[in-house]
């Protein structure tokens, strides 16, 4: 493995010229045997943060890195960005070594918390990052306007970031990650600190990015987010890759069949149960599906925006809803 590795280093370091062909992007990110050990000042081993990670991210997909805190997700992202250097193994981004600055031309990165300069306004922030991509003044003006609209900060674009709420800062963070219209977007915990609406919007944005042909790598410990948007996930635990695959495949319960139908009477339901029994199946439950708290909350907000001031009157049992409504608010926030 060692000799293998060093020849690979020699090869790629030769062809990391700025003209690296865009066409060869059959793989956007590739990690080979990637390991990271954090050491203290004296070189003693502190944490083995990542152990021999091998993943490939393909163009146009949303790839999720999943895992509990301290499982190596952020470390992986930082290695991909070249913010950290691997202890062994390597990372290729667009076929270039992660330590090359060149690759950043095509990358957008939203850090875990939006590490932005608090004394700049949203507009200044985006303009500044635009300059770092050496964009011309006209181009910057254009893009800044577009992005501010996209993340919905028109009303606050002249305010300093220190006055922003967490959600707004997050949006500026996302906007700065997209200033160069990147081919690859890296999102570190994109939904932490966002309210349910913000989370939904963020998810829609991510899906929108994929629709526009971008590759997205995100890491999160909010399982629902990953489930909703990711095409493929890698599950990490204690620095080791535990599972890797398509979300739909991983979550599919092979021997259970789900049927959704509306307008069925109780008689019809029992008839269906009989049919199932006749075919040798077992009915586990026949029930009304419950919506997720997210759906409920989003419905409430949507309606309240349509009819301000009115309290939501549910078509379902009112008493149940009113007692739930207040607690659900607290839970979600």
């Amino acid at each position: 493995m060692d000799t293998d590795n060093s020849t690979a280093v020699a090869e790629t370091s030769e062809d990391t010229s700025p003209t690296t062909a865009k066409s060869s992007d059959s793989v956007v990110i590739e990690t080979r045997n990637l390991s990271k050990i954090y050491r203290d000042f004296w070189g003693r081993k502190k944490v083995h943060a990542l152990k021999s990670l091998d993943i490939e991210v393909k163009p146009g997909e949303i790839f999720g890195l999943l895992g509990p805190n301290g499982s190596g997700k952020s470390t992986t992202i930082k290695l991909i960005l070249g913010l950290l250097f691997p202890t062994s193994g390597r990372v290729l981004v667009f076929d270039q070594d992660a330590s090359e600055t060149q690759k950043n031309e095509r990358i957008g990165y939203l850090p875990e918390e939006s590490y932005l300069y608090k004394f700049l306004t949203a507009e200044e922030t985006l303009d500044f990052y635009g300059r770092l991509f050496d964009l011309s003044a006209a181009e910057r003006k254009n893009r800044v306007k577009q992005l501010i609209e996209m993340v919905g900060l028109q009303g606050a674009k002249h305010r300093q970031l220190k006055e922003y709420s967490k959600g707004m800062t997050r949006r500026v963070g996302l906007a700065q990650a997209l200033i160069n219209d990147p081919d690859l977007v890296l999102l570190d915990e994109p939904t932490t600190g966002l309210d349910p609406i913000g989370t939904r919007e963020m998810k829609d944005l991510i899906l929108g990015l994929r629709d526009r042909g971008k590759t997205v790598l995100l890491c999160s410990h909010q399982l629902a987010d990953v489930q909703d948007v990711c095409d493929r996930v890698a599950i990490l635990h204690q620095g080791e890759l535990k599972e890797l695959g398509r979300v739909s495949d991983l979550l599919k319960v092979q021997d259970v069949t789900e049927v959704h139908a509306t307008g069925l009477s109780d008689a019809a339901k029992s008839e269906i149960a009989e049919v199932i029994a006749r075919h040798g199946g077992t009915v586990e439950s026949i029930d009304n599906p419950t919506a997720t708290m997210e759906d409920l909350f989003l419905n409430i907000v949507r309606e309240s925006e349509a009819r301000p001031g009115a309290r939501r009157v549910s078509q379902a049992t009112e008493s149940k809803n009113s007692s739930n409504g207040s607690t659900s608010d607290g839970d979600q926030a």
Binding site: L81, L84, T101, D134
Partner: protein, 629 residues
């Protein structure tokens, strides 16, 4: 102001030191660059081999060197540097560093409390006050803003969003340096303007009344002005009722008698000036008339210092440096003289007379007539032919610049004949050179002088321009400190980077003392020794010139350890910029001398050199550092 030998060097002489290349700035620059490269490669290899293993470490170092020239320097974009510079600038503004200007204003407002209004030379006092205040304020500020910014950005992780853009390490370093230098410039400009106003307004005054006016028998008037600002002037007017007062406290006034018989005294003249001296080469003759390199040492004239000009050659023990020169003395009565040979004495440079300034010292070997000053004379002489003017006598005005004018037509001797001589035709040789011979006229009394004590003064430059040059010098120092601060902040945390920069500045300031200690250790002279020996002496309460009073083994250990420390300090101090030399330009402005262009050019080139060095070190450390670690 006492100029040292190396102050006279032209830029070329300083850079190459013809005949003594070991002392040259060029060599120092080369050695620093080579040392930087070698140390950089070694340190880089040690770090990367510990990270990747010995073989791969070599490639890593080679790669990062290649990256600089192949990608990072060509990939450096002005727009990005400017964007980062603007950010650094804004950040500095946000840190409220502009308040420093306010602090400066307060200093100026309160200046009256501690600037002595009865000073003999108020111009000097005012100018050196504003320049010193500006210098230290701005250096402290540069130290502060440059060393905290980058570590703060790493701590706040704001740097994450920057280095994940196509930003090169070159741009991060240059952007910072540029932003902070711009900040410093923005602060220096109002400070300079305020200083100018403070000095000019502070010195401006006139005398409203005149007193004791008498008509002179020869026509014209004489009298005294009133006593304003702790002084008054004596004045003499010609037949037409025009004249000037005498010089008091470095200035005079024009006095005019108006038609109605009243007198009007004009504004201050001559207080703020920038004399452009034309210095000559100096040789002495002893009492028997033999040529000597140096004048007579009347005691305590050989002070420590002046080593710095010897550069590398002193460090490796080849030369000792110029040593500080003080006054050489000429004995009165005998054949003792001091001879200055000036070049460029032409009609074009000097109009109707040749201005010559004298700032001589007097040394009395007996009391004599204490009421009267020591007398001396100047003789104009042809450098090679036996033609010389009659002596022009003067009385020494110690601690003041005595301004005289040499006449262009003067009686003198040509060989054996006595005739009227024309200075440009008879006393100046074909290369435009003329010799001035200074003698002491009182028997067994002495006149002291340095090469800078007697000079011709073809023109004056404007004070405003000279003050600007002094500020340019401060600007250069600030740039240097900023570069060092940024350099240290690429691998140290904010406070530590600041301390490191401050240590560099302080060591730069006290370099001469370190060199001096080294000199005494080398020469085996007991002067308190190095740090450990000094400590022992302090504790034992021993005088510093006695033999170290401990047993031989202990003495050997102490002296060896001290030598190690002092040699190391010496090497570091030699590598650092010579800040005292740069601060010294304030002395030029304060003493009313034009700051030589060559001196400023030397400082500028040295600054540029150190900035490039700091830039390269910063680049490599930033490049090889894990930003997220």
């Amino acid at each position: 102001m006492n100029l040292q030998l190396d102050d006279f060097w032209s830029f070329y002489e300083w850079f190459f030191r013809p005949g003594a290349f070991l002392e040259s700035a060029a060599l120092k620059g080369i050695v620093l660059a080579v040392l930087g490269i070698v140390l950089g490669l070694v340190v880089g290899y040690v770090i990367s081999s510990s990270r990747y293993g010995s073989g791969e470490g070599f490639f890593a170092v080679a790669r990062s060197v290649r990256d600089l020239f192949r990608f990072d320097l060509p990939g450096t974009r002005v727009r990005r540097i400017l964007a980062l510079a603007r950010l650094a600038f804004k950040e500095a503004v946000r840190r409220k560093v502009l308040y420093v200007v306010g602090l400066f204003v307060v200093l100026l407002l309160l200046a009256g409390w501690y600037l002595n209004p009865q000073s003999d030379d108020p111009a000097r006092l005012y100018i050196s006050f504003v320049l010193t205040a500006t210098n230290y304020l701005v250096l402290a500020l540069a130290l502060f803003i440059s060393s905290f910014s980058l570590p703060e950005d790493i701590k706040n992780k704001t740097l994450y969003t920057i280095v994940t853009k196509p930003v090169r390490a070159t741009e991060i370093v240059l952007g910072r340096m540029l932003g902070f230098v711009a900040m410093g410039t923005v602060i220096l400009i109002p400070m300079g303007a305020l200083s100018y106003l403070f000095v000019t307004r502070g010195l401006a005054h006139t005398h409203a009344e005149v007193a004791d006016v008498r008509e002179l028998p020869s026509g014209g008037f004489e009298g005294e002005t009133d006593y304003t600002r702790f002084h008054s002037h004596h004045f003499e007017l010609n037949d037409a009722g025009e004249g000037v007062t005498d010089m008091v406290r470095g200035h005079r006034h024009v006095v005019i008698r108006k038609d109605d018989g009243s007198f009007s005294v004009g504004p201050v003249e001559g207080a703020l000036r920038a004399r452009v001296p034309s210095y000559g080469s100096l040789v002495f003759r002893d009492r028997s008339g033999n040529l000597q390199e140096e004048g007579i040492d009347v005691g305590n004239e050989r002070l420590a210092g002046g080593y710095g000009s010897a550069g590398i050659s002193r460090l490796i023990g080849v030369a000792r440096g110029t040593r500080k020169i003080e006054h050489g003395y000429v004995e009165g009565g005998g054949l003792g003289t001091a001879e200055y040979t000036f070049s460029g004495v032409t009609k074009e440079r000097y109009g109707s007379s040749i201005p010559v300034d004298l700032s001589l010292r007097a040394y009395r070997s007996y009391k004599g007539n204490i009421e009267k000053g020591i007398r001396g004379s100047i003789t104009m002489k042809h450098p090679s032919k036996p033609i010389e003017s009659n002596p022009i006598g003067f009385t020494v005005n110690e601690y003041e610049v005595d301004q005289k004018f040499l006449p262009l037509e003067i009686e003198g001797t040509n060989g054996n004949k006595t005739e009227m001589l024309n200075v440009f035709e008879d006393l100046v040789d074909e290369k435009g050179r003329m010799t001035l011979v200074v003698r002491c006229l009182d028997d067994s009394q002495y006149l002291g002088m340095t090469p800078a004590s007697v000079y011709l003064r073809p023109t004056d430059h404007s004070f405003a321009w000279n003050l600007t040059k002094a500020y340019l010098s401060i600007w250069l120092q600030m740039t240097m400190v900023t570069a060092f601060g940024v350099m240290f902040s690429t691998f140290l945390t904010g406070p530590v980077a600041m301390v490191a920069t401050a240590v560099c500045v302080l060591l730069g300031f006290s370099a001469e003392q370190v060199y001096d200690t080294r000199h005494y250790i080398d020469a085996g002279i007991e002067r308190g020794g190095g740090p450990i020996e000094s400590m022992v002496r302090l504790l034992k309460q021993d005088a510093m010139t006695t033999q170290l009073d401990v047993d031989t083994v202990a003495a050997k250990v102490i002296k060896t350890a001290d030598a190690g420390i002092v040699y190391t300090l010496d090497a570091i101090a030699t590598a650092l910029p010579n800040l005292p030399k740069m601060v010294n330009t304030a002395e030029f402005a304060a003493s009313g001398f034009d700051i030589f262009g060559a001196l400023l050019a030397r400082h500028a080139v040295a600054t540029l050199g150190y900035v490039v060095l700091a830039f390269l070190i910063s680049y490599f450390t930033l490049k090889s550092r894990e930003i997220a670690a």
